[in-house]
């Protein structure tokens, strides 16, 4: 495998990073909305968001990407593959992050909410200043764990036909007939992206467990 081939993989890597970043950032925004709706105390809203989460946690990401990809075209929205994949990843991430943060919000001791109510704080201030900062801390290890899962999930964009790292690997492997070398390098590139995050997540988890004790 020569320099040109490696450079082509790096171009794919760039797209993997971009897809992960878009999916994660948009997923965080939407996921926060889901988590707040899921803990809103309004039965209908809670029921709907619970269904939304169950839908995305009960079906394969690959199918979600397919349905979004062809569904967008169906309703007359003509978008590129990367945009369709971004939408799919965002929806997927919003459901998982929504569920992670719901758990975190519920893990904040009730006394915190009660105390802020007693201090006459409104909903916005109660959430923004009291509950969410604590929930964020509790949820950080799981959130980072999901980010790793999302980075790995972007590889499925290759099946939809978008040239990110895995598909770049496919193309090169078909050109030079050294699949083991190529997929070995592709695997290492993913590993280099994900492993520091995994280690950081585990570190946070230990730190958090120690501070609770």
């Amino acid at each position: 495998m020569g320099q040109d081939e490696f450079f082509f993989l790096l171009m794919g890597l760039k797209w993997t990073v971009a897809l992960s970043a878009i999916g994660f950032v948009c997923g965080c925004v939407a996921g926060l909305g889901i988590a707040l709706a899921r803990t809103s105390g309004v039965p209908l809203v809670e029921r709907i968001t619970a269904g939304y989460i169950a839908l995305f946690q009960g079906t394969p990401l690959l199918m979600q990407l397919f349905v979004v990809y062809y569904g967008l075209a169906l309703v007359g929205i003509k978008v590129d593959a990367w945009a369709a994949v971004s939408v799919g990843l965002t929806l997927h991430a919003s459901a998982y992050l929504g569920e992670i943060w719901r758990g975190a919000i519920e893990a904040v001791p009730r006394g915190q909410t009660e105390a802020s109510k007693a201090l006459a704080l409104g909903y916005v201030s109660r959430m923004k200043d009291v509950v969410l900062p604590q929930a964020l801390r509790i949820s950080l290890p799981a959130t980072i764990g999901f980010l790793v899962q999302l980075i790995k999930g972007t590889s499925l964009a290759s099946i939809v036909g978008f040239t990110e790292l895995t598909r770049a690997g496919n193309i090169i492997s078909n050109q030079i007939f050294q699949p083991l070398t190529v997929f070995g390098i592709v695997g290492i590139l993913y590993f280099v992206m994900c492993c520091p995050l995994t280690i950081y997540g585990a570190h946070l988890e230990r730190k958090f467990a120690a501070s609770v004790r």
Binding site: V67, Y70, K152, S155, T166, N170, P179, L180, Y190
Partner: protein
């Protein structure tokens, strides 16, 4: 918007799709069994006295957990023939699923083993139970119960992961639906229906695991 939904190809392909669901079940259950074996074996090695073995297991777990399943399955798909092992796509997919699930199972089972304190074993012996009874009732059952929720939710994820095995055209639901899609071009209709199938499959899996849990692990904690 002048597109009309047409589910005719889906209805015509229904027998194929339903049989493919069985393929997905088969793939998932074989993968789970292999993952459990790898998980238990990995934990034994992970707690061995030989440092090299421990590090090999740690390396294996981290390598698998930090790379996408799609890349793993491609690698295994191309590596097995080079190692002189010629297998059809479906057994290859089972091996890949087992290796992937096994890495996660190692971490989960290790947590369960650690959760049993030595005092429990000593207490069991002090109450006059046999060693075998102590192992079965006081070590194994609580350990299984402790890991059951995380292990089974990992297995539901494994079931969903089987869809990626379509990349090497193993026999399961996604690859069959892709064939129907490429024959009929009714992409949305096909994938929409198949998504609903997956929802039912994962729901069934969860019900099944919940049933086992209620049947075997329903006794008070403290």
């Amino acid at each position: 918007m002048n597109y009309t939904l047409d589910f005719t190809p889906v209805i015509e392909g229904m027998p194929n799709l339903l049989t493919a669901c069985l393929g997905t079940f088969m793939l998932a259950i074989s993968g789970m069994l292999l993952a459990t074996v790898i998980g238990i074996g990995g934990v034994v090695l992970r707690t061995s006295k030989i440092k090299l073995l421990r590090w090999l297991v740690i390396g294996f777990v981290e390598l698998i957990r930090n790379t996408p399943f799609l890349v793993q399955i491609f690698f295994i798909y191309f590596a097995l023939p080079l190692a002189g092992i010629r297998l059809d796509p479906t057994p290859t997919a089972i091996i890949a699923l087992g290796i992937n699930g096994g890495a996660y199972a190692i971490e989960i089972i290790r947590g369960g083993v650690q959760s049993i304190s030595k005092g429990q074993m000593e207490a069991g012996l002090a109450l006059g139970l046999h060693k075998a009874q102590v192992f079965r009732l006081i070590i194994l059952k609580p350990a299984l119960r402790a890991i059951f929720p995380s292990l089974t939710s990992q297995f539901v994820l494994l079931t969903l992961t089987t869809s990626i095995a379509s990349a090497i055209s193993a026999y399961e639901l996604t690859s069959v639906s892709q064939r129907i899609e490429s024959d009929s071009f009714r992409s949305f209709e096909v994938y929409f229906t198949v998504t609903a199938f997956y929802l039912v499959i994962s729901w069934l899996m969860m019900r099944l695991f919940a049933f086992f849990s209620a049947r075997y692990f329903a006794y008070p904690v403290k």
